[in-house]
């Protein structure tokens, strides 16, 4: 059983050491990685994903339960404990959704009954994240950006069911983020979000701040920020409503902004 991942720190692009010696992520943690473009966020999750062992450009090492990850993670990829969803990640298959998920579920589980149950649970999960329901007979390549993201997350969470899930900037594709965080928190896993989204950052337990290729700080979400998270969500909801109106060809009026201000 995986209980912790430890990032033993390396160095930034200029060779100077990171701000913390090591960082321990515990099972159940929801963590954000924040920082400007080019600050090393994606490199950090790549280091985690492939269990850096001091030989990657950052010199970081990644430990599982305090020790070097067992070879079996590499030897038998089915035991690999990490699922990765990046901003480039997409489905290439053009199979119908049901058939695609069943193919994946079959290599992960034994019986056809499990496959059926996993399929149903995955779709239900995905459909709570997207406004436009996904049907089993839709083709994978027909799914919208939001549906694709929702299904990627649902598939990684339920069918892969890996103890660690890495999500690289998943917010840009119209999924219900608060709902996603709520659903994900019910599962005992380590979730790591690379994000620019204040909503996700504030709903995380802490955020790793990247600068110049290295970990510059670790900020725990404090009580004030937690209180503030609700306001941030409302602001964000308001923007979402405006975005939807634009999308549906409606006009925006000053009146809408007043309504949001009163909320």
């Amino acid at each position: 059983m995986i209980e912790t991942i430890t990032i033993v720190s390396g160095h930034g692009k200029d060779g100077t050491p990171e701000a913390v010696d090591q960082l321990e992520l515990r099972m159940g943690d929801v963590v954000s990685i924040v920082g400007p473009t080019g600050s090393g966020k994606t490199t950090l999750i790549n280091d985690i994903e492939l269990f850096a062992d001091g030989t990657t450009p950052t010199g970081r090492r990644v430990l599982i339960n305090g020790a070097a990850p067992p070879d079996e993670y590499r030897e038998n990829p089915a035991n690999h404990p990490i699922a990765l969803i990046t901003q480039h990640t997409t489905f290439l298959s053009d199979l119908p959704v049901g058939e695609f998920l069943a193919t994946h579920a079959r290599i992960r589980s034994k019986t056809e009954r499990d496959v059926e149950a996993l399929l149903e649970e995955t779709l239900e999960f995905a459909n709570q994240l997207t406004g436009e329901p996904i049907q089993t007979e839709m083709r994978m390549t027909e799914l919208s950006g939001g549906q694709t993201r929702a299904l990627l997350i649902a598939d990684a969470t339920i069918i892969c069911d890996t103890p660690i899930v890495l999500l690289d900037e998943v917010e840009n594709a119209g999924i219900h983020r608060t709902r996603a965080l709520e659903l994900l928190r019910r599962r005992r896993k380590i979730f790591i979000f690379v994000t620019h989204d204040p909503r996700i950052a504030l709903l995380s337990d802490y955020r790793i701040v990247m600068r110049g290729g290295k970990i510059a700080d670790v900020l725990y979400t404090d009580a004030a920020e937690r209180a503030y998270a609700h306001e941030v969500s409302k602001l964000d909801d308001a923007l979402c409503i405006l975005r939807d109106k634009i999308r549906h060809g409606e006009r925006l009026t000053g009146h809408l902004l007043e309504v949001f201000a009163c909320n």
Binding site: R74, A83, T89, F91, T103, H104
Partner: protein, 233 residues
């Protein structure tokens, strides 16, 4: 002399993987040489020479099958590497044939496959995969976790003895295990042979008869309705 022969379809990242291996090998004090075999165009030899200053060269196979060409020139290439004072030879093949494979009975056979090439690819590439020692999977961040897992499972289905290594060929992550496999592989030696049987290749089309339809040919022929799966030996 340690030897690695690298195959894999075009654009999968063979050169990127080898480039990172060269970097690691040099850091460990090895003296690698690099040979590229391609059909009609390649510039990897120039790129890698510029970057590392190691002995590099290329061979164009032209109208000869590039894997066939590999068999022809490999003996000379090992001699060349030795004369250059090298102790590792990395051979990058054109990697386009789905009927045979370039690996030999010494050294390490590597196939580089990209996860983006579809879940069925491992079922299609034949001996290029099944006779390799290690399958290196690139572009893993581009596809869904589901497709990546199905891809790995399909490699294991068709080639259970082939080790799988997922790498990030852009950042050079996951390359060390490949260098270790290269170090552990049996050294190149006299009397090495091609691992697989060459495919059936003796047909009248091979020798230049270009007419369409099997009735125009003799020797190894087949109609659309014939359901024979030709196999070497």
């Amino acid at each position: 002399m340690q030897l690695a022969i690298c195959a894999g379809p075009a654009t999968t990242g063979k050169t990127s993987v080898l480039r990172h291996m060269i970097k690691k090998l040099l850091a460990q004090g090895y003296r690698p040489a690099f040979l590229k075999i391609d059909v009609q165009y390649a510039e990897e030899d120039i790129q890698l020479f510029k970057e590392f200053g190691i002995p590099t060269r290329k061979v164009y196979s032209g109208e000869l099958c590039p894997d066939h060409c590999n068999v022809m020139v490999l003996g000379d290439a090992l001699e060349w590497a030795r004369e250059c004072g090298c102790d590792v030879l990395l051979v990058e093949t054109a990697g386009l044939c789905l009927r045979c494979s370039p690996y030999v009975t010494g050294g390490l056979g590597m196939v580089v496959l990209e996860a983006t090439s579809g879940m069925n690819l491992p079922l299609k590439v034949g001996p290029m995969l099944s006779l390799a020692d290690v399958a290196v999977v690139t572009k893993i961040d581009r596809v869904s976790q589901a497709e990546r897992e199905v891809f790995r499972a399909r490699i294991q289905d068709v080639a259970p003895s082939v080790r799988i290594r997922e790498v990030n060929a852009l950042y050079g992550i996951g390359i060390d295990p490949l260098v270790r496999l290269l170090e552990e592989a049996p050294a190149a030696h006299a009397g090495m042979e091609l691992r697989g049987n060459p495919p059936v290749g003796t047909c009248t089309i091979c020798v230049g008869k270009k007419n369409i339809g099997w009735r125009e040919h003799f020797g190894v022929v087949r109609s659309l309705e014939t359901d024979i799966f030709y196999q070497g030996e």
